[in-house]
Amino acid sequence: MSIFQRSSRVFAIDGVAVSIVFLIMCVYFAIASPYFLSPDNIYNTFVESVSAVLLAAGLTFVLISGGIDLSIGSNIGLSAAATLFAIMNGAPTLLAVLAGIATGLIFGLVNGAFVAGLGVSDFIVTLATLSIGAGVLQVFTARTQLTGTADSSFLALAGGKIAGIPTGVLITAVILLILEVALIKTPFGRTIYAVGINPNAAYLAAVSVRRTKFSVFIISGIIAGIGGVLLASHLNSVQPGLGGGYELTAIAGCVVGGVALAGGRGSIWRAALGAFFLSILSRGLQLTGVDPLWFSIVTGAAIVAAVAFDRGAQKWLQSTLRPVSPVAAATQNAQ
């Protein structure tokens, strides 16, 4: 095997192509703007992208199972509101966190009950819960002033630092790790892929499609709830439209990371990378002083370039792998 072939195999590791695009972009920004690598900017970039990354990671479960969850946008907003409301009313931090997660769980339960339980279109159901959630958040914030808390232990959830790393980022990293392990290493994760690849076959192969569908919505809901908790701690305030449009950002992040909307393909780290890619892109553009009128055009073009490059790399890789005769392979296999 030539060195060339061996190095081309590197692309076979899922997502290496996307990572390369990501690195190229970072290098470019680092050269184009002296501020890009400044500690301040790095800190801000990580802290601000926490919610996008979390949402994308939770959503990945739903997407891999072949579904979609639009409600995460208002879920994160409402969970943040619930958390802050609890903490401002004197609840201990732990209880407030639970309040946020419970809110996310409720979204997951409702979505799951309708989609998996009744078998109605996930697009419509989660659009409906998105709309309801957004309305409830507005009503809620109009009635209660969620102006913030001074509870330092709560604020430290996202704003504190452990070994110089923001706690919010640490918590996110741990959650990502857990999710990735759950997806790749557990029977449960495996069935999610199976359902996404072919629900009919999975069903007949004794996979409980309904339970799987139900659980992915629960996971997506809970993760959005955790995102809401961190957001509440980070912003220390909740505004009526909080979270609006996050769902699109999260979906875009997943898709850029190579999670297939049709189901069956994707992983947590790729989704997180995709979401991070988008937030770094918009920061980098601002840092390099690009006219913001160009932002959405550049973002669109970058998405196309990243995904096209990824595909191109995969194809190229497939064509460079050395063929083996089936006979040879079969004997090899038998040993």
Binding site: Y203, V207, P326, A329, Q332
Partner: protein
């Protein structure tokens, strides 16, 4: 590579100039040589049989001819001139029609719409606007459809509402309905009932008479004799021989397909049959009592014991698959009782069924059995993942691979690695993986729905062996098959279904049966299964 030991010169065909002439064609997939240096000539007015084990490259050759796969080497000539067939459209334009091995119909369209897909008839006056002439299309296929047992209703509903076999019939009609130069049939008879096969054969003869050349893949060697004019055998992607069937027997063909080196091992399997038999207590595993599910199933009662194989016979749409669905919990019966080990149970889902010890081999491989993007390994373990997980929590990759490797070698799945995506396997090898999946769950009862669809002779014997072994170790099996000889051969008892009811149950003594007894039993089954519906 025609300097093969078995090479015999091609017999002089009935036609003169070949319509299609393939020279040195090869196809290389990443990691696999699917086809290497194959020469084949199709003459007008000949039925050209194409044989080979699973994974020999038959479908690959066909895909090249029909424009769905582009060859990596070689040339194609059609009617004397060199061509490239880049798309299915090109193939159509050259007069090549294909019935593919796998289901290839749009599920949301009706039979008529599917048959004319890509070749719609357009109302004369409205040619420019492209207005469809629905009526004409319908009348054109009606006769053909009736002959193949499709009702008026069948051709009106989306084909996803039809059973697997009827869908297959639609696919055949799709190829027959048009004037073509070359008709390619990739295992057209797999799963067809006898009378449907006969209809198909008579059509094939008619076409031959009209000077059309047919390329025909089958794993049922008995069909070939008396019908095929020439036979080409492939092995491991290479041409072994092109022979005249007159000088061949089933055994000699098998020898060509399998090759000398592998022969000894295979023969043993083929001959072995069911020797031992289960010696433990033959207690009942499953019993259905008056299971009814509207609108199709009425009053189904049957039972199957340990060490026993129950065959389910019937024509397409008789309700055999539906019965399996009821047992599996995919459909809940409206009334009636299901007993497992003599205890009444409610089976809520296939998952529940698995926990209660029932596994199922689906009839529609592509859409209902395989998880295309998953590797072979993952396809095998998916039904019972807890078994390959530490404390039921974390998957153990190495153990999983070892398990998968064991099944792959036990079942003779031809693949470069257990990490290969199942989608890239040949049809027969996919089927073996699906059976492996069922065996992996260590069930008490396996329902095999058309288990040998698309499986080669050798592998068929292996599948029978697997079934025998399974029941001999105390399992119970229900085998649904449209191939009567097969059914008679493997079953201990055969229940015959018609229009959703069981119309009779016959003892079958399996392989001990003499030829005349077999055909007598077969005739009784056919008359039970089709009374009043189809004249044979």
């Amino acid at each position: 590579m025609n300097n093969n030991e078995n090479f015999q010169s091609a017999p002089a065909g009935p036609g003169d100039q070949p319509i299609v002439s393939v020279r040195g064609v090869g196809k290389v997939y990443p990691g696999v040589v699917a086809l290497a240096n194959v020469d084949i000539d199709l003459r007008p007015g000949e039925i050209h049989g194409l044989l080979g084990e699973n994974g020999a490259g038959k479908s690959t050759l066909i895909n090249i001819l029909s424009g769905t796969v582009s060859p990596t080497a070689g040339t194609l000539r059609v009617a004397g001139s060199e061509v490239t067939i880049g798309t299915p459209r090109d193939a159509q334009d050259l007069g090549i029609s294909t019935v593919h091995q796998e289901q290839s119909l749009a599920p949301n369209l009706t039979a008529v719409e599917n048959i004319f897909l890509g070749r719609e008839l357009i109302t004369g006056r409205n040619r420019v606007a492209g207005v469809l002439d629905e009526k004409e299309m319908r009348t054109r296929v009606l006769e053909l459809a009736h002959e193949f047992g499709l009702t008026d209703h069948d051709i009106r509903v989306p084909i996803e509402a039809l059973g697997a076999l009827k869908q297959h019939v639609v696919q055949i009609i799709k190829a027959l309905a048009f004037r073509t130069q070359v008709l390619i049939l990739d295992e057209p008879t797999s799963g067809l009932a006898d009378h449907e096969r006969l209809t198909l054969f008579s059509y094939m003869r008619q076409l031959r008479q009209k000077g059309i050349s047919l390329l025909w893949v089958t794993h049922r060697l008995d069909e070939l004799f008396g019908l095929a004019d020439t036979i080409t055998v492939l092995r491991d992607g290479q041409l072994v021989a092109t022979v005249d069937p007159a000088g061949q027997t089933a055994e000699s063909l098998v020898r060509l397909m399998v090759g000398r080196s592998n022969l000894a091992a295979r023969e043993e399997i083929i001959e072995e049959g069911r020797v031992r038999g289960f010696s433990g207590a033959r207690d009942e595993v499953l019993r259905l009592e008056s299971v009814t599910r509207h609108p199709l199933l009425h009053d189904i009662s049957l039972s199957v014991r340990r060490g026993e194989i129950l065959g389910l016979a019937g024509i397409a749409g008789a309700g055999r698959t539906e019965t399996a669905m009821a047992v599996l919990g995919a459909d809940r019966p409206d009334s009636g009782n299901i007993f497992l080990h003599s205890r009444p149970v409610v089976i809520r889902s296939p998952r529940d069924a698995r926990q209660k010890g029932i596994a199922y081999v689906p009839e529609e491989r592509k859409t209902h059995a395989i998880l295309g993007d998953f590797s072979i390994k993952r396809n095998i373990t998916i039904s019972d993942l807890k078994r390959t997980a530490t404390a039921g929590l974390f998957l153990r990759g190495r153990q999983e691979t070892a398990t998968a490797k064991r099944y792959v070698s036990d079942l003779g799945v031809k693949t470069s690695s257990v990490q290969e995506k199942i989608r890239n396997l040949s049809g027969g090898n996919q089927q073996k993986v699906v059976i492996a999946r069922c065996l992996f769950t260590k069930p008490d009862l396996i329902i095999f729905d058309e288990p040998t669809q698309g499986i080669d002779v050798g592998a068929k014997a292996e599948v029978y062996r697997l079934i025998y072994e399974f029941v001999d170790q105390g399992g119970a099996a229900i085998v649904i098959s449209s191939e009567l000889p097969e059914l008679i051969r493997v079953s201990d008892r055969i229940a015959v279904m018609r229009e959703g009811t069981i119309v009779g149950e016959l003892e079958s003594t399996g392989r001990d049966e003499t030829a005349s007894e077999t055909s007598e039993l077969g005739e009784r089954i056919i008359s039970l299964a089709t009374r009043g519906a189809v004249a044979v």
